[in-house]
Symmetry: C2
DNA sequence: TTGTAAGCGTTATCAC
DNA sequence: GTGATAACGCTTACAA
């Protein structure tokens, strides 16, 4: 790793500033620093004439306020922190972009870290965020170490959980009911008279969304007098390769499942691809359904049915929520987002029915 | 938009801190604040015994240094800014994640904004970054308003351009030669005896990567006595739908192109999908090649040939470079990354040859 | 409407 | 090896 510091060798940059500060503006505009400050943050509280002089001075000197000094004094950083599993999954990338852009409209900046689905690392990741004074935190899911919540409480940092919706859970969240959505998929297949339904799930450890989806499927099956056999439930990482391997394993079973529910669309893509290379016809011989929805999956892989999660909406709503909390609008209520069970392509009944 | 501010109504959060500060630690450890500060930043410069007392105090009080105060005093924010086109494209998402994670190992935080391929908006986007004191900037491509470079120079913020490699350009960059890579694709097709080669390019305005790729193709054709006819060159946004429409338009031409080079893989996926629904066989009737490479494209769409860009490498290298600059290791040289022309699937010769 | 001046929490300088 | 103290650049009572 590189050696840090060595300030002696540094060229003067923004913070080793040769740039102008508020006093320079004040001098040039022939006012006090207080007036400049006011002109910048509450222009209506300053005489139109002096305001013009100040603005001219600001422009001339290319003055940019020093964020750290301002934050130190006002105790507000206008920064929100978030930790997501990964940017490698399109749904989180889209979600994050929406979140960031919405925060931007509020004048807030997003501080982003990825934990690669490892809840233990969150503590280490969040520490620097707290040090940088994030005013609020946006978390994905509800599976976090108690220690993390303790930290947030300790430093009184408001937070919101996203991608989940738990009426019972006392923590604020913006999201949808993963269990119910998964049950919807299962019921859809059951209505088509599928009885041998298998599932390729994501890793459920530390991932309540994945877990809830399994529970939803299991419950739906049980409600119809069926069950999710151990050999019909696979738990794999969210990769295309894992989806392929999972599907191959399932297709080796006898009896074969007639329908496979994938924990997300990455797995579903892998599953369909594997069927192609196995010569298994989709959906004639086996129906495949996905989750989360990516444009690519639904556009290029027609035999895939999918549950569409409104990722951008989630990001925007999370931003709205946390900003409301941070700015003291406590009257906000949790928001549940609707999740459409969209059947694209041609998921069909089981073979021979 | 929400009203900001209203500090009166705010609950005390991190920065309206009830949290302990360095004096509290100092008192508890019975030392001065100076010693605590030293213990935190240069432990070797403090007596082992006192160090222990201080560490105990820090742990007990759950002391976290105040980043803004530290930044104000040291003039270092340990923050790098970056502006990317979008997180909606997997290659930039992966790249960004690699960049962020590498910066993290240096103790640096990434401040990320997206400009949706609009160079004009960059100025507005970068302003807040400067205000927040980014020590360096990572930019995508070389197409930026002069005004942007002026700003960076003005505030003496080191920067690096990525995804491009321009020996002639005096600006520091970490990347690869888009023109040469595109020429490689064209030559590959020419070697297969294709003569009617079309291109579906991304929007070239404000996007030198896209522009260079067109030039590369054009030059390769010209070198063989061919040319890129106006009707054979389409310029569309980087979306699957646009790729489909572009391909449809090309397939209506007569004579039809026997090979289509797509400006990136998103377009290529659209193009292949359209061929599927048109009943045009790939690569028997038309060969399709992509750019940038996404796992999904190469895994699920075998008839696609693709130029693989090492996105993670780019992110890491950019991080290494900018950190070196920021920490004063000026001896760094530009780094060109190799780009493999990987032919996956079965791009073939033109029909009837 | 504007100016004066006291901090915000940290680190760096300089003594000891 | 440690301590006192003066900044860092800004905002905000409080005065005028």
């Amino acid at each position: 790793m590189l050696q840090m510091g060595n300030p002696a060798a540094r060229t003067t940059s923004r913070h080793g500033r040769r740039t102008s500060k508020i006093v320079d503006v004040a001098r040039l505009a022939r006012v006090s620093t207080a007036t400049v400050s006011r002109a910048l943050t509450q222009p209506q509280r300053v005489n139109a004439d002096t305001l013009h002089r100040i603005e001219a001075a600001v422009k001339k000197l290319r003055y940019v306020p020093h964020g750290a000094a301002r934050a130190l004094r006002t105790r507000r950083t206008r920064t929100i922190g978030t930790v997501i599993p990964t940017l490698g999954n399109a749904i989180f990338a889209n979600y994050t972009q929406a979140l960031q852009q919405r925060l931007e409209t509020y004048g807030y900046t997003l501080l982003l870290v990825c934990n690669e689905y490892d809840p233990r690392s969150e503590i280490d990741l969040v520490h620097p965020l707290i040090e940088r004074g994030v005013e609020g935190m946006v978390l994905v899911g509800g599976d976090h170490l108690p220690q993390l919540f303790q930290m947030l409480d300790e430093y009184q940092i408001p937070y919101v959980l996203t991608w989940v919706w738990d009426q019972a859970q006392s923590r604020p969240c913006v999201g949808f009911d993963n269990r119910q959505a998964a049950a919807g998929v299962a019921n859809f297949l059951l209505d088509l008279r599928h009885t041998r339904i298998a599932m390729i799930s994501g890793i459920t450890t530390g991932n309540d969304r994945a877990r809830e989806r399994v529970i939803g499927v299991r419950e739906a099956l049980t409600a119809r007098g069926l069950s999710l056999a151990a050999s019909y439930l696979l738990e794999t990482p969210y990769t295309i390769t894992a989806g392929r391997e999972g599907m191959r394993a399932l297709m080796r079973l006898s009896p074969r499942p007639t329908a496979v529910i994938c924990g997300n669309d990455v797995l579903a893509i892998g599953a369909i691809t594997e069927c192609h290379s196995l010569g298994v016809e989709v959906p004639k011989q086996v129906s495949i359904t996905g989750f989360d929805d990516m444009e690519m999956a639904s556009t290029t892989l027609p035999p895939l049915s999918t549950v569409r999660v409104p990722t951008e909406d989630l990001g925007r709503s999370a931003a709205d929520y946390i900003i409301a909390r941070v700015t003291g609008h406590e009257s906000i209520v949790n928001k549940e987002l609707a999740v459409d069970l969209i059947i694209r392509g041609t998921t069909g009944p089981p073979p021979g029915s």
